[in-house]
Symmetry: C2
Subunit: 136 residues, 2 copies
Amino acid sequence: MSKPPLILSSLDVERIEGLLANMTSSEFAGKDILEGEIDRAEILAPEQIPPTVVTMNSTVRFLIVETGKEFALTLVYPRDQQGFDDRVSVFAPIGSALLGLSVGDEINWPAPGGRTMTVRVLEVLFQPERSGELHR
Amino acid sequence: MSKPPLILSSLDVERIEGLLANMTSSEFAGKDILEGEIDRAEILAPEQIPPTVVTMNSTVRFLIVETGKEFALTLVYPRDQQGFDDRVSVFAPIGSALLGLSVGDEINWPAPGGRTMTVRVLEVLFQPERSGELHR
């Protein structure tokens, strides 16, 4: 499968790699895949990140293509998930898939009955880097 | 897409429908799809559920086909998720996709970099109905 490299913030990568170093594959099913993606990512300084890229602590508006329904999620570190339904950990399967996506990208989510949903990134509602929060 | 109907416990369906009645699609992206699957499911009394089916509060052992790694998750109601990494809510995309699966079934999970992982149900380690906990 040929995919373009992800665009990641150097600060996000530093923090994510620090957390991954203390994790086993049984704690995070996508560990090996995420490590591989970081290795081939385009890593930029926080101030160089395009405003349409999903970075850590970004809030993203999505469309479910099949149903026309929209919703929003914020991509967080596990310690900040704290049971909030509108936050998703970067080490959950869905969170790890959101990191580095851009507006217009689509991914598939599993759905009941062996189905899949097509989820499209409509808008990055909040991105720390775009708001000048370069150390968040 | 033609898929076999899910096998669901009548008690699980009663509880899930009670919770769905108070939810909006913005709270649970797969609401419409889950309601449709319940409508076409094979609904059995708890004591008739085959021992290899994933029911509520079941603990399931999985294989990630691409990496050969195994892990386990317990499918719970949202009130029981409480931040445990090894529990997944039936109203999260991945949880909703697990309900009613059987040993040997495979589903796709989203993974970093726009990839997908193939996740196979290896074993139902614990199932309340099989253990005689018919009202759990």
